[in-house]
């Protein structure tokens, strides 16, 4: 028989003004199983808690109901108090007679009656409460960071500086990401490479960072604190330990006509290459698709000229398993292209802008490469078609972004600012040139952002035209831009030498497949979903996985770096403990009843349901049942409501407890 103690709080006068607390205490005291009931002015105060603890010990109470404010307010407080008095904290429940009763009713009689019923309901519930042991899982204090752009670099450095080992995996041959491609950055116009490359070197030299470049995530298993990640290290064809980075192989490679993707195909690179001179690691990779040796078997020049003998044509992909406790996803973004898309694709291209076939219509990133001092033109703004300096340049914003017709409805956030920056860079480099910008609205929220945009108009003399462009076409060596100025209400035609499109920010290619490997959710554009838009913006709903940078949504550099550091802080919070404690509100499977239909697995938002084989003593398989991994379970209980045989139960919210409450009414 249970010995329940009920404690009714006055909350000063907040409750007692409308609820007759003495009567509630008296009435509830008569309920079967209630051994003790009392009321007190402030239950949450020190003396109140003292009263509670004393009663538990003196009255040998088995369960406790505190009738006071909302459990959202003080459930933790009272459960802690109960625990310190030697009871399992989950044997304490709160009855909400303030927010749900005294504050919302005026009639004293009605309110008192309701309070009695509410407390009665919780008394019946608490009788069915079970002792729940706190769940602990061990934590592997190593972390995986996926993506070596500025987000991944920042997160990796923060975590490693805290003393924890980091495995950084980058798909490209070098870390650096998009930021390494940029010329100068808004709103301060500092050189991107100057601030980026030191950080890249820090990563390379950090004793706590294990760097895998030219590598991808193959497979992820496990759960928070205990992931097993398989990394595929693609064959580089160059031994990283032997290579000294002298670069002779690159200069001697006879195949030099491969478009350089890092330079947005503006320049050429050899088949054995580093993407850019400041690459980290400074170890070349052989592009096997374009290498003569791999295509025809003849050549082998690089191997012959390599002093240390690092070139290895026989090298194969390697699979490496890394145990980690937390994962930071920082896969970044990709740029939308206006090219014709395959039939049936949800994203469409821009036929009205020539489907990318007009050579002097380029995108913003290509302009960055033109403007970059280390770019293919040495920082000169020159047309790709004939290498002439464009005297009239047109920038068009919102290309792809905010265009539901093309399949993308969102704002890409960074284009207004980088276009303003482009007009400035252009004006600095081509003094007699004129920049025009077609835009809808300038979105410049951010410190010093609007001032920056205004400067491009007021001081750098960019002409901003509020209106969009209907069509671009080549006419001789000019590009005719057919736009409109909606402020004046006229059509505007500009014969431009070059057109720069501010194309939309999209998630990295393959973002969806990586998400499926990780078991994290993503939106219809394949941006990764955070657990809560406001309060948990860097965590995934899947425990132990965190987001940093543009893989979660379009972001500029300051936002990306902030989020990366935030994700790192989350990882460090996790690593601060040796064992992971979590609320034991998790689902458990009653194996005897489970028929293995796995409906629970279909509805589980966390992927917490696994298969478990039940065998007899001889080892013969009897049946396969569901098993809920307590480390992964989020505790929503959807499985329980779905289970046809009622064989899964959510601790803390069992059918028994709920039916007891309903029956009390």
């Amino acid at each position: 028989m249970s010995r329940i103690g009920v404690f009714i709080c006055h909350c000063g006068e907040n409750i007692s003004r409308t609820v007759d607390v003495e009567r509630v205490a008296a009435q509830v005291g008569t309920l079967p199983g209630v051994a003790f009931s009392t009321d007190y002015k402030y239950m949450c105060s020190d003396p109140g808690q003292g009263l509670l603890k004393k009663a538990i010990q003196e009255q040998r109470l088995s369960h406790v109901v505190v009738a006071a404010c909302s459990p959202r307010m003080h459930e933790k407080t009272f459960r802690k108090a109960v625990e310190s008095a030697g009871l399992n904290p989950f044997l304490c429940e709160m009855a909400n007679i303030r927010e749900h009763c005294s504050w919302v009713h005026e009639d004293r009689e009605e309110a008192t009656q309701k309070a009695i019923e509410i407390v009665g309901m919780m008394v019946e519930r608490v009788k069915k409460n079970r002792v729940l042991p706190t769940i602990t899982v061990p934590v592997t204090k190593r972390s995986l960071v996926i993506g070596g752009g500025i987000a991944g670099i920042q997160a990796a450095l923060d975590i490693a500086d805290c003393g924890h080992e980091v495995v950084l995996v980058e798909r490209e041959p070098s870390i650096g990401g998009h930021m390494a491609q940029l010329s100068e950055t808004f709103p301060t116009l500092d050189c991107s490479q100057c601030i980026m490359t030191p950080k890249m070197v820090d990563v390379a030299n950090h004793p706590k960072i294990k760097l895998y470049t030219y590598a991808e995530i193959e497979h992820v298993e496990g759960y928070i604190g205990n992931f097993q990640v398989t990394v595929r290290k693609k064959a580089r064809s160059v031994d990283e330990d032997k290579c000294t980075g002298c670069g002779v192989c690159m200069t001697k490679c006879p195949q030099k006509k491969i478009p350089n993707t890092f330079d947005r195909n503006l320049g050429m690179r050899p088949a054995i290459y580093v993407p850019f001179p400041q690459a980290v690691p400074n170890t070349p990779v052989i592009d096997r698709e374009n290498c003569t040796k791999f295509k025809t078997g003849k050549c082998g020049v690089c191997q012959k000229v390599c002093g240390p003998g690092a070139v290895d044509y026989e090298q194969e992909d390697q699979l490496i398993v890394e145990p980690v406790g937390a994962i930071v996803v920082a896969t970044g973004f990709d740029l939308y292209s206006i090219e014709e898309k395959p039939k049936g694709s949800p994203i469409k291209g821009y036929g009205e802008f020539g489907h990318g076939k007009i050579p002097d219509v380029i995108d913003g990133m290509t302009f960055e490469r033109l403007a970059s001092a280390s770019g293919p033109t040495g920082g000169k703004i020159l047309r790709p078609s004939d290498g002439r300096e464009p005297k009239q340049i047109v920038f068009i914003q919102c290309v792809g972004s905010r265009a539901r017709e093309k399949g993308i409805s969102y704002c890409s956030k960074i284009c207004c600012m980088y276009t303003a920056k482009h007009t400035m860079l252009y004006h600095h480099k081509v003094h007699d040139g004129q920049a025009y910008v077609f835009f809808m609205d300038a979105r410049t929220p951010g410190k010093s952002y609007d001032e920056f945009w205004r400067r491009s108009i007021e001081e750098e003399e960019a002409v901003y035209i509020r209106g969009m462009v209907s069509r671009l076409y080549q006419k001789g060596d000019k590009i005719v831009v057919m736009g409109s100025d909606i402020a004046v209400g006229v059509q505007v035609e500009i014969e431009a030498d070059m057109v720069v499109l501010a194309t939309a920010v999209q998630p990295q290619k393959g973002a969806d497949t990586l998400a499926q490997k990780l078991g994290i959710s993503y939106d219809k554009y394949h941006f990764y979903s955070e657990a809560h838009a406001k309060l948990r913006p860097v965590e995934c709903a899947t425990a132990g996985i965190y987001l940093a940078g543009a893989c979660q949504g379009p972001k500029d550099i300051p936002d990306t770096v902030s989020q990366a550091s935030a994700a790192a802080a989350k990882v460090m919070t996790l690593f601060a403990k040796d064992k992971l404690e979590r609320e034991p509100i998790v689902a458990k499977v009653r194996e005897a009843g489970c028929v293995g239909c796995f409906y629970c697995r279909k509805v589980c938002p966390y992927g917490a349901v696994e298969e478990k084989e039940i065998r007899d003593r001889q080892g013969n398989l009897i049946k396969v049942v569901a098993y809920v991994n307590p480390g992964v379970c989020g505790g929503c209980g959807t499985c329980q409501a779905t289970c046809p045989s009622k064989s899964v139960e959510l601790d803390g919210y069992t059918d028994e407890q709920i039916v007891a409450m309903i029956e009390s009414l």
Binding site: H100, V104, E106, Y606, C636, T638, I662
Partner: protein
């Protein structure tokens, strides 16, 4: 200023709510000192996904005259997608209930976020008034008796038949 008049019939309303949105919304109604009829009893669940339709039947059986089910707005679920499963489940369940002959006016599904104290008050008030107008719920009390009858295996014939299966 809320109802001081007494009614002949005070319906019993049971609300099944999720802890993250609607329970918090009801809390907000309290902290904002809004007033609503005292007929509702709130049962807290982690998520609407946990709410088994059987609970609704059970509530009616236990003498509830109206039942309210409310959780996070679609897409806002704390547990990613629990409320989507709930929505599907209840869409089917409503049909079933209608088929059985329950007036669907007694059952309300809705979404109330943690910021919607006003909506909570409005909904509870509307449902209470509506159910008050409909009178006490009779159907399921009889059903409860029936269930007990069919549940018991208290004759030797029945026992034999039961054992042979």
């Amino acid at each position: 200023m809320h109802h001081t008049e007494k009614h002949n019939f005070e319906p019993k309303i049971i609300a099944f709510v999720c802890t993250w949105c609607t329970y918090a919304g009801a809390d907000l109604a309290g902290t904002s000192r809004m007033q609503y009829p005292a007929n509702v009893r709130v049962l807290k669940f982690p998520c609407t996904g946990r709410i088994d339709p059987v609970f609704i039947l059970k509530a009616f059986q236990q003498g509830a005259d109206g039942v309210l089910v409310s959780g996070c707005h679609p897409g806002d679920c704390h547990y990613i997608a629990g409320n989507f499963h709930a929505r599907r489940r209840f869409a089917a369940f409503r049909k079933l209930l209608e088929f059985v002959g329950v007036d669907l006016g007694r059952l309300q599904f809705s979404w109330v976020s943690a910021a919607e104290g006003g909506k909570w008050v409005e909904m509870v008030t509307d449902l209470t008034e509506r159910v008050r107008g409909m009178g006490p719920m009779q159907e399921f009390r009889e059903l409860a008796l029936e269930e007990q009858w069919s549940g018991a295996i208290d004759t030797p014939e029945l026992r034999e038949a039961y054992n042979s299966i």
